[in-house]
Amino acid sequence: MTDIKKNDSHEKKSNTSTESNTMTTTQLTTREKVELSLGRRRAAETRFRLYGMASVFFGMLCLVVLFTDIASKGTGAFKQTSLTTEIVLDSDYLNLNKESTIDEIRFANFDGLIKRHFAKMLKPKGRSAKRELFKLISPGASWQLQELLLANPDAIDTSVSIELLMDDDVDQWFKHDRELAEGHMNDRLSDQQLVWLNSWIEEGKLDTHFNTLFFTNGDSREPELAGIHGAIKGTLLTLMVTLILSFPIGVAAAIYLEEFAPRNRMTEIVEININNLAAVPSIIFGLLGMAIFINIFGVSRSTPLLGGLVLTLMTLPTIIISARAAIKSVPPSIREAAYGLGASKNQVVFHHVLPLAMPGMLTGTILGMAQALGETAPLLMIGMVAFVVDVPGFINDPSTVLPVQIFLWSDSPERAFLERTSGAILVLLSFLVVMNTTAVILRRRLERRW
């Protein structure tokens, strides 16, 4: 090693002969050492950059796979197959007239009318053929007629053109299996049913439309009638309760702990426990809610009020921790300036610390709410997993929430429910994206430089 260096230095020396011998030797060895280590350092840097890029790429890939999978399965849920048909609203059969009251219309036999209509049209032979025919039409069809008549009572005894909802088996076949070869046909439909359906397709009567029912209906046992309106309303009510409770409580707790609490053992214990609470599995909060809110305070189960209370318990640590971090990040020079002018503690906190910490607090709160939005486990414990058809009106009505609705549907055997599961996931994800974007925008907007 030393030999090489000496040789090197001699070579260099012949080029720049003005410098003294010893000087050149030391200079070159130092430079050589630096250059040697430089290669190593550069290599490490490049390696690390590659690792980083690989992990980012892997993360992106997972995300893309997840989203394409859900989107490809879920977009079907936003379309629904229906049959365009002309049907006469026979006043004799329905036993109605133009002066009929709403109740009379509600109890009229639309189901029978539809059955009679299709029996006349396709003339099925025998009881089993009839049953097969009627199975193609959704139970929601009679409800469609009823709605139509309620909206326009004058339509009685006229022939109306209506897009009648088809059964979920027809819907799935029409959307996905139509193109499949004979042998792989969906065996939920008989040959006779397929003949009828194909004739409708040839006549151009069978088509898909945007599935508004998915957004306006509550849950249902019939997939083509099941919607997420109830779940969305339940989610909004639950999150409203959570926000109204957890934001003021969380911020007040953070301000007290950070600014007013005496530094003693008691405060320390409280702080440690808040940090620990953030790591408690969420289902424990559900048990706590059941034990305390239901058993002791008698809050009725399955309601957004109860869900909101439980989610408040779960979100509070997140909000308190982020709010405290936001308060801590307010530069001490601002506090000093305010104290130096004779501001009282309250004035310092509310005039200076709180406004400066607000963006951080809001970000933490929105992230906490996003976490609460996706929470399922604790809500299972307090009965929000119930099958609720009605859309909740207020926070004391039984309801469910989006993630629980997804959980419920994912358990159903019908294929159409699988599609709706993915559809509901898409809606939930878009809610989350909106909330997180709001958090980012809020932070950008409110952030002030000092």
């Binding site: 020079s333 506090r335 300036a337 305010a338 130096g340 002018l341 501001a343 430089r449 000092w450």
Partner: protein, 271 residues
């Protein structure tokens, strides 16, 4: 060199620590951070309408002493104080003294310019607002204008009073902080190295300003620059390891210091 690092037992401040017409008087003040004593038995008068410079090597306790004068050290939990500090013959560490009116009477300007992240107007108006000094909007406008004029900033900012104070240059920010302090009309202004973050031109402006302010206010200034102390102050107090070594008229301190430690410091042998 060795003697400079040692604590002097039973030191009595050399020179003239007392004043004929004292505004603020410290009597036998000890300051502790936890178990560590930062200030040892300091007795010093700050006379009305004088500028007193507090000098000394880093960590000598001059900033700590300054902050005891308006009880800014109260915000530090482990800090405790013995002795008396009298503002117009009233002990500011007395049992029923409120720090809010005290700090309105004894204002403070900090080392780093620290304007609030608000408009220039709101920065200056903040003090009058919280103390309820202005009865009307017009009166508040007048106070803001007067304070900015006193701080020599009015002409530079009069067209952009509602733009953020943090957008000003360092020197302007510091003058804004001075304007904010005098808007409350204090009796004493404490300055903790007000020019250490500023360039020479901004420093010169602040020094001029200090000279003007002396007519109305009593000023105590901590500084690391001995030239600055020589330029702006009438009396100079030299601190060393928490002790007040010497207090004398500025001219005397810089020409014929009485104490050997003072001499060592101003001739640059340590510090």
């Amino acid at each position: 060199m060795n003697t400079s690092m040692q604590h002097i037992e039973n030191h009595i401040t050399t020179g003239i620590p007392l004043s004929d017409k004292p505004k603020l008087s410290a009597r036998n003040v000890d300051v502790f951070y936890g178990d560590k004593q930062a200030i040892h038995d300091v007795t010093l008068d700050i006379g009305a309408n004088e500028v007193i410079a507090l000098i000394g090597p880093s960590g000598c306790g001059k900033s700590t002493f300054l902050r005891t004068l308006n009880r800014m050290n109260d915000t530090i939990d482990i800090c405790s104080i013995k002795g008396e500090i009298l503002l117009d013959d009233e002990n500011i560490y007395g049992p029923d003294v409120d720090t809010v009116p005290l700090r309105a009477r004894v204002g403070m300007v900090f080392q780093k310019p620290n304007p609030f992240p608000k408009s220039i107007y709101d920065n200056v108006a903040y003090g009058p607002r919280i103390h309820g000094l202005a009865q009307s909007r017009v009166e508040l406008d007048e106070t803001v204008e007067k304070s900015l004029q006193r701080a020599g900033l009015w002409n530079e900012v009069k067209d952009r009073l509602h733009s953020p104070g943090t957008g000003l240059s360092g020197g302007q920010q510091q003058r804004l902080c001075i304007a904010r302090t005098i808007a409350v009309d204090p009796e004493v202004i404490l300055m903790d190295e007000p020019c250490s973050a500023l360039d020479p031109i901004a420093t010169a402006k602040i020094e001029e300003l200090i000279d003007d302010l002396r007519e109305k206010y009593t000023i105590a200034i901590v500084t690391h620059s001995m030239q600055q102390a020589a330029r702006v102050s009438q009396r100079t107090a030299y601190f060393h390891l928490g002790q007040l070594i010497e207090v004398n008229p500025t001219k005397q301190v810089f020409t014929t210091p009485q104490h050997e430690l003072t001499e060592a410091y101003i001739t640059g042998r340590f510090g």
